[in-house]
Point group: C2
Chain length 475, copies 2
Amino acid sequence: MNALIDILRARLGSGGMLTDPTDTEPYCSDWRGLYHGRTPAVLRPADTEAVAACVRACAEAGAGIVPMGGNTSMVGGAAVSENGHELVLSLSRMNRIRAIDPVDMTMTVEAGVTLKAAQDAAREAGCLLPLSISSEGSAQIGGVLATNAGGNNTVRYGNARELVLGLEAVMPDGTVFEGLRRLRKDNTGYALRQLLVGSEGTLGIITAAVLQLSPRPRQVEVALCAVASPEAALALFTAFRSADPSAIQAFEYMSGTGMGLVNRLIPDAALPLAEPAPHYVLVELASARDDDSLRTLLESVLGEALEEGRVLDAVVAESETQRLAIWKLREEHAEAQKRAGGNVKNDVSVPVSRVPELIARATEACERLIPGIRVAPFGHLGDGNIHFNLVQPDGADRVAFLARDHEIMDTVAAIVRDLDGSFSAEHGVGKLKPYMMPSWRGGAELETMRRIKHALDPKGIMNPGKVLPEASPPT
Amino acid sequence: MNALIDILRARLGSGGMLTDPTDTEPYCSDWRGLYHGRTPAVLRPADTEAVAACVRACAEAGAGIVPMGGNTSMVGGAAVSENGHELVLSLSRMNRIRAIDPVDMTMTVEAGVTLKAAQDAAREAGCLLPLSISSEGSAQIGGVLATNAGGNNTVRYGNARELVLGLEAVMPDGTVFEGLRRLRKDNTGYALRQLLVGSEGTLGIITAAVLQLSPRPRQVEVALCAVASPEAALALFTAFRSADPSAIQAFEYMSGTGMGLVNRLIPDAALPLAEPAPHYVLVELASARDDDSLRTLLESVLGEALEEGRVLDAVVAESETQRLAIWKLREEHAEAQKRAGGNVKNDVSVPVSRVPELIARATEACERLIPGIRVAPFGHLGDGNIHFNLVQPDGADRVAFLARDHEIMDTVAAIVRDLDGSFSAEHGVGKLKPYMMPSWRGGAELETMRRIKHALDPKGIMNPGKVLPEASPPT
């Protein structure tokens, strides 16, 4: 290891490497505090060639590399091993926006640019980078793509994968995949960029990408609706989709329990409706046209739903301030739950049609498991992606509650599985969930993943221990 | 080989296998007539388990398999070798639509369903399968996905890949990848379905898929515009995109030369404009709303472009008959060029902003190469995908012209390459173009593809000779 570090230091210079334990320590805990490791060095290459040189040296020495962006993974995607043998490779110095083309509506960004900085640069060029997640201020493009991030606007624009036209990546042997193309159509061989996106750093290190931008919406309408049931929320979604699918920019579900916590625990969060409801929907419509009849569309669909009793009450934002106030109710859900005590999070998805059944069954099962538990699901109903979160019973012991987290997760997972869903909709697998892969993605699927991993990274140096459970290499 | 055929016959029954040379012969020429091979047997499994059994038996014997759908590849994607050692595996008996869910807006279809039949079934369920290509009457879903088909509506809905939520496939070892999920979000490991889509049958055989449907548009507007230059055509595209990107359903470019051939050689094809122009655009707008101001949008953008001289003349379809008449002018381009003599086709793409430069430079280079050549490009300007087709000089010798096809293709390719484009936008690589892979997709990219191929298909039995050029296996 010392010889390898000498080689890397010679290549990167002293500014390109941290080896003092005090300096490397901040890189060795994950954002959620689930993992604590240690590393002999944090590599900070400033360009693609330096990344490649680091990977070549590590491949030769058989040393593990943990690629790291903003370190905001919810599942320990950039967690460093406790064995002290893995090097951290931070992309944060590769933070240039290489190009923006307003005719092609593309931007070429390096991996270390934060999502927020990329959004801002797109906006300055008159465009929209239509990807938004709560950690966007610190999450970096490399990690955002490596985990195929989702967020509030995927119902309209798709996940991160659907925004990537081109990719540059350093492969596990230290060669550079030069795929920074700006083409909307290109059928020339295997979809390597699609494969690298979502591979969580286990098949290579993304160093730059070409992202597809969109025109900025000129009109946005937001409404908060009180509904009697998840079925009514789903019916409202299909009504909007039937009226105009391309107008829907976000369609978020929130439980009455979750909204109650926000109202009680978050300052300046007030429900703009006459009385609390058992369930809520936040719908955002958008259009690029300034003369569009978006408000008419919104009021027509809501009016019909109110008449038919599917919506109990609704408020439409009349100003930017009101829009933000409504969104705040949604965005503070995680914070309010944190303040209410111990939390167990389940980032799950099911077919959109099955969201009501998921909520009903999982609520009942969790309440049976732990009487008094506060079931507070919320999330992207339009994508079938629900954050099925649970908060400890009021006044219960936090530690005792959290000790049962796997019991709760297994309870929810069994129902998700029965509904043909997924145990990870947008957070990925990371270090937290590889153990779930054999039962959920086993057989030919996991075997194919293993073969690909072994073919591209025979020494297993790229982000060890993530995504795939440990196993002997394929024969 | 005889022993293998006996095993397969025992498994498939006599109705499931063709071995008579007269019966197998129709499977052994590709649609364009570029390749002529022979096969000892055409396997016609009726379900996924039978496909898997065939693949297992072939894998054991090391026999090559050519998966075949409608056999409509433009690049010999299902061409059978002349060596007589490859078995054809036809998916045509797997032609069930397994399910349609109008709430999730998904359909589960088997590989042997024609694209047309799938479109019809979606329509009957009140939905739209938004993928349309000229061979849709015979092209089958398995092949459509294996080649990641494009077509006229990708500017709005994306390529085939973007419509696939789930996939079932038989892997080269005969195991079944059971990935028929209906989830819009699922970050649980590597994107195998994205990898299989576009792999042209070289990594496995797609047996069924879950496709994302859309609501049917309630309003459609079509206009044909005469423009002075490709630059003006591009400016018109950006004007429409700026006005409302989600309204654009197709944006097609046609050259004056190509339109002249259609007018002269196709019965009942008449230009609905006062006089011929050097270049044309067909724009189609669509909306799910029935009260949408789509016509106003169309007329406003066209009006401004006419005033500024970017559009010379335009006609808006006032009826379904007129819409079809305008589309006929676009759709008959290939047939008119065929009737005009020898053709050389180039299915290329460049960044959208570079389409005008592509047309200008490639036109000049081809005219210099062969004086009198008729340069007749057309295609999906909104995607940067131009079919840069060339027709022999009027009265010239067809055979002598076609003898220079590689000279012409190389001339176009050099310019496409200089513009950071692709040598195959939507037709794929097939058997025709693997030789181009090393120079266009070489280095780490091709090496990674080879490693994946070798890892999943170590004996090289899946669709031999397609996509990847021959090489020794990776070390």
